[in-house]
Symmetry: D2
Subunit: 380 residues, 4 copies
């Protein structure tokens, strides 16, 4: 556990290594956070939930940091509004790195002799840190991709390690399927309790929808035909004058897009990404097909490769039967978001290795686009 | 069918009979519509989908009314923004009543000899008109209940015809339950296709939550404890400084409320109403209980009396397996709203007799409160 | 005074005579008020400031009307927010007319024997009622002119009784000029105290800018050249996508406009109207000329005819030297608006006969357009 | 001129010396700009208006910087919206300092042999840079003063170098006074043309209003009495729940405030600062006194000491008689802001030495508070 702690904490800082100091500070939209905030918030998590509970002699690094770097835990004190994170020039990056070092030093001491009852919280902290590693990638992309100079993050970053070429559909038979995590490793409370659901037969595509297919949708007037859209999706398109995926820019008769490697021509054979649930649903409607539910996705997941994009499913983020919110602040981790959001399944190119699994339930609002998400189609 | 047409159309106008002419015109919030708009819009539905399709000689009453009174059918032309309905002093109420008479006259002619293929559309039109009858009650309540003079609608209107006194829970066994409409009468497309779901055992209360119980929640600080609320619900409470159900006003150490009969003291034994999904969920959380899902509700509905309040369930409004949007404009009736909304089951004191059934799926946004809704609790 | 009272009160109702009852109720924008509100507010003024002070036995018509129909007098109690006036279906028009009759009856009794100290307040009340007569015209125009059916107010209403054909400039010599009201009749506090100002020589046009000239400005790209506009004006143009005067609609290669007589082709020889201060200033800049100050206007006013349009002047609405706010609620009449607004001089086709004078200071925000305003140019 | 150039350019960077790198990046409100933006924008001014016009061989430092660092000159190309300046992490501070060095190097070359016709533009550039030096102080104060850690800028910074103790009024006789700049040095176009105005006699206080006096206003309920406020001012107070000057925080029965030296107890004998025009006017009204006009201020300025605070005057920012906008982009410097703003006279502790004079016209919107402004009272 100590080695994993060291390795995961180190990886967080490594993600930030290509940044200029100025990049750590800004917050170009409320959904994204400044990198320096991620560095501090993940550190606060250890301090708040582990060190101040289980390390007897522990003295907090700074009296105000709990206030500054709490993300949304109402039960542990006031928090800085998400909208204002980008205005906080202090503490500086150097101070936050000192904070990280201080907390790491104490965590390593504690991990030498970790009490039994703290172990699952440490496990949660590691997965929490990994979730923020993914957010670091997406928020850094937003920061650099909305800078008028379009600086690259890493010139050799490949957002699509593997191009999919088999676009056939697989048939999945009707039946009773087991849903939710049943293994012995770590899993989030929202994957519990495991239970069975009855599914009808359906077909699901082996590959994700490609940029090329999505360009067809654009050319066919997909963004100007209200009948393809949910009512709220259509309002969103009109109010925001959306006409292409996030990070796409017209360039003559082609499209360019910002990737973490910099500006590049859209490659038609790569899977489309940075589209909202609304766009995914409208695309499926235009095809005369549909998105899978999260249960269909989970039932079929063993038969296809996944992991390059978070996949939009047509399931609202709701509790499973017999779901129980854990007691205390950790109970705010997932349960209080189970309204107004849609589930995404799978993993993305930004997800840390080993972090996801086929029962993992990610969730975002239907208009959000800054994650590396994608579309998988379903028939019947 | 002709008699039902006459009776339903007449009933719409009867609901408006207690109004002053000025009451027909205003729109105090975007979700509510002016009564005169409801009178015209229901009439436009007959003109647009029946008369102009099936009555050969039919001449529209006015060339602009299709533009003015289309609610949201994108496929049949431009519509007046909902927000602006309350600014349209013309056409006058008298002109709209003439429009109703003109369309009725032609409908009766057509109904003498109605083509086979139009019959299901007529049926839909009747149910559509009944849905607007219910909206007329709730919108009229909003208009009068937000007037500083609090005029009564009908001094003898009883919002709770029947006080419930049996607050016990019934046990419902685990099993495979049939969901969705399987009868031969009319039903909406969102109740299809019928299918089975697997449920675990649970208990559900015979009675709705009362005003008295809800006052306990208020006194216990329910509106100031963030841990009881969904994250979005808590933001809604803070932004709107919500501290009680809609239409409630503090009066010394008691509560008063506006009912369609006028201002009155809150009766603790009547079922609470005009609370959002957020409030219903927070109340259940405070009780250590939960709301049923729509499937649990439907499975259990035969064992309890219902019909005074639309009941919040913890199910997002999503399509059933094998759901098909009907072709054409009618396909916009339900399908395009299957995002961001929560289901309500049952019926309310404002629902026309015979309009609802235990498979009926009503749906509203989780913050909306102006319908006659209520709370039924679930255990385990 | 009694005869003037009767005649002015009667005139207010006469302005409303062509309306349908529904037209009295709506408020399509915050700056305009429903006609029924004007009818009630002017009546409240008599009740609040005269009857309840000077008629010993007087009993208010309704206990809540002071609350409902106070426009902005903070010192006499809470007021209904301007924005919400259009949501108040009650009191009805009939009730408000009864209120008028009741107050008139008591006023006539009082006027038989009016105390000396009340006379100037009665005078103020008459001028106040006349100001609302003008607002009735402009607000009615806004209500009908924003209705998709464009109903006419009076088919023979002429917004330009007199076409001006002499477009020459008059030279006004430098000198010390007397400013402000010095007569013995009624005048508003904002015209005091009379004083002198030093002016340089300038030239001013005999006629107002015509629609034809304004169309030239539009054709020359006036609305898309930021260098012609004040910085705030340019933001206003962009945010509201303004490209022509209020009530103008393109019709092929011509312009149509809504007048109180109905939709009609823009007549190039009539004076342009319904343009904001920003537009007036941009037009003058485009001409290489300027707007007069209010002092220049007043000094020159004896040499030209005026009274069809309120004329934009390049003077902020500020107090004259030695200006004193009157004590009490009447002190809120003008003084508290002496910030952020620009002066307009003259009178308009909607101004009651005898109401204005060449020292009268009207004032609006620089973006407001719904009054009958116009442009007079100045040289040097 | 070369020495002045070096000295002024150097001073800009010196103001930033106490900052951490992170402080250069953020923009906590639209009115303030990130320090790094000021460093770049002032440099762009030299490049755009001098080097690219007058230095034949000059090659711009970076092709996109003109786009990024134009503040509001519509005539020289598109600009980055002010609201977004705080999202631009790139170019970095180091890159901007390199930009400064590059432009300075070329400017020094040009200044060796500066063409006659460029000299007044160089003079303007120096004064422009000094205006941004003052904005740097106020924007830095806003950035640090809105950070939850309240870091000090310079522990020994004194915002009030000189406490005033003589609170008597001086009488200024009526007469014709000369207004506007008549000297031979630099002055802005808005100080022209010099002209005379007629003033009545008045009295003006030798000293600025103190914190102690302002605390009396607060204690007397000044912020809750609408009759003291302009109508727009009262709306501003209510909407923003204003109850004290900017940077003031209640601390038990005392007030604390953030100064550039850090948090400190409010000193009652220092002049109040960071109050809007609305607050200044309400304070004067509460005292039964008034603010001077800008002409009164200028006429009296020789008789009192000034320069610690920009002084609110009751004059809208309007052109002087015979004012001419200069041709070209420089014409956008002042003229296009002559609407909706109020004049401030004097200078502040943040104004560079020698930059202001008694004819200088500063201007801000009536709600703005982040400059070092203050109140001087006037009688009669």
């Amino acid at each position: 556990m100590k080695d994993r702690y060291i390795s995961i904490r180190h990886h967080t800082e490594k993600i930030c290594a290509p940044l200029q100091l100025e990049d750590y500070v800004v917050q170009p939209m409320p959904d994204a956070s400044p990198p320096k905030w991620h560095l501090a918030h993940t550190t606060w998590f250890w301090e708040e939930f582990i060190l101040s509970q289980y390390l007897a002699s522990y003295k907090r690094f700074h009296p105000h940091y709990a206030f500054l770097f709490n993300s949304y835990y109402e039960s542990v004190g006031e928090r800085v509004l998400r909208l204002h994170r980008g205005n906080m020039s202090r503490p500086t990056v150097a101070e936050i790195l000192a904070y990280r070092a201080y907390v790491d030093e104490h965590m390593l001491k504690l991990l030498d002799n970790i009490p039994q009852e703290a172990q699952s919280l440490v496990e949660l902290g590691l997965h929490h840190e990994q979730q923020h590693q993914e957010l670091l990638y997406t928020d850094i992309k937003y920061i650099l991709g909305h800078n008028p100079l379009f600086p690259s993050y890493q010139p050799d970053f490949r957002e699509t390690p593997r191009v999919e070429t088999d676009h056939r559909y697989m048939e999945i038979p009707a039946g009773i399927y087991s849903i939710g995590y049943t293994g012995t490793g770590f899993s989030f409370d929202n994957e519990h309790a495991p239970h069975t659901v009855q599914l009808q037969d359906f077909s699901i595509r082996k590959s994700l929808v490609t940029n090329g297919e999505y360009i067809e949708f654009i050319k066919a007037g997909g963004y100007s035909n209200p009948l393809l859209w949910y009512s709220d999706g259509w309002s969103w398109v009109k109010q925001n004058t959306v006409d292409s995926p996030l990070y796409w820019y017209p360039a003559g008769d082609q499209w360019q897009r910002y990737s973490l490697a910099g500006l590049e021509t859209v490659n038609p054979s790569e899977p489309v990404t940075h589209i909202s649930f609304y766009e995914a649903a409208a695309f499926a409607e235009w095809k005369g097909l549909r998105l899978p539910t999260e249960f269909e996705w989970e039932a079929a997941s063993g038969n296809f490769t996944w992991g390059q994009r978070w996949e939009h499913v047509n399931s609202a983020y709701l509790p499973y039967p017999n779901y129980q919110r854990p007691a205390g602040a950790v109970g705010e981790y997932n349960g209080k978001f189970m309204i107004n959001q849609m589930v995404l399944r799978g993993a993305s190119v930004a997800t840390p290795a080993g972090h996801s699994r086929n029962t993992y339930r990610n969730f975002f609002y239907p208009q959000q686009r800054w994650q590396f998400n994608g579309i998988r189609l379903c028939k019947k």
